[in-house]
Symmetry: C2
Subunit: 146 residues, 2 copies
């Protein structure tokens, strides 16, 4: 029999990550209703470039927890939207460095505010110490599996 801490229904809920799916959908809706024409996956790439511009695609793979083909296509679509630009590295011609355009720079403040609001809405009525425990557990789960 099961020796973990999940009943049947809870097991499904935990594996499928209902909570994070709900957060992602809400964030996407808020982007859409704000007239922001980007997906949350595209936003997640921009997010890391706002922290540090000019990352390579491989660095974006590590940062976003995605594989190389996924990043290739996300960068493709971001280039189509004129939000980033591939610049071949001078030192290593295998490498593309990804730079934000001015359009993308304009998006940072607004989208971060929306993300912040969405998280606040999601965590409404949850005491800070319980949020802290939750974050720590999820970090351990990630470390256990990565």
């Amino acid at each position: 029999m099961s020796n973990n801490h999940f009943k049947k229904g809870e097991l499904y809920s935990f594996i499928t990550g209902k909570a994070s799916i709900a957060i992602a959908r809400r964030l996407q809706k808020r982007f859409n209703t704000s007239g922001l024409n980007i997906t949350i996956e595209q936003w997640s790439v921009l997010y890391h470039l706002w922290k540090q511009d000019g990352l390579s695609q491989q660095q974006l793979c590590n940062a976003t927890f995605r594989d190389k083909p996924s990043i290739t296509r996300l960068v493709d679509n971001l280039e189509k939207l004129n939000l980033v630009k591939r610049v071949p590295s001078e030192h290593d011609r295998r490498i593309n460095l990804i730079f934000l355009t001015k359009n993308a720079q304009k998006l940072e403040e607004e989208t971060m505010q929306i993300a912040d609001d969405t998280l606040n809405e999601a965590l409404r009525s949850v005491p800070p110490d319980r949020i802290e425990v939750c974050k720590e557990v999820l970090q351990i789960v990630y470390d256990n599996l990565k």
Copy 2:
């Protein structure tokens, strides 16, 4: 400025649901290495049919937190794999009832054991009371947004 409980890097981690992505990937790998030729999305549909066979597609939408086109296509692929069968309802001809085949019935025990093992691995070294807090927080997040 931000008035929630997340630093920048944590915000990304929470929104993208790194922990549940890690669990899903690990489970998929275990299915693959066990020679089980199904995706975790297909498994999530079977999961609810094992609990109650003969659900409608709409009921599967609610249970799996997916929209109707997603379920249509998952059922399409499960039918191709000979794991489920669509049976039109006699009382309401709009409705398809989805029934497990014998092949799918055989999969229940093995896949549930794998899912159980995967969760135990993910939660290794996490005390039960902290798991409980985490579950409750994620449930509130879901309820806040649904």
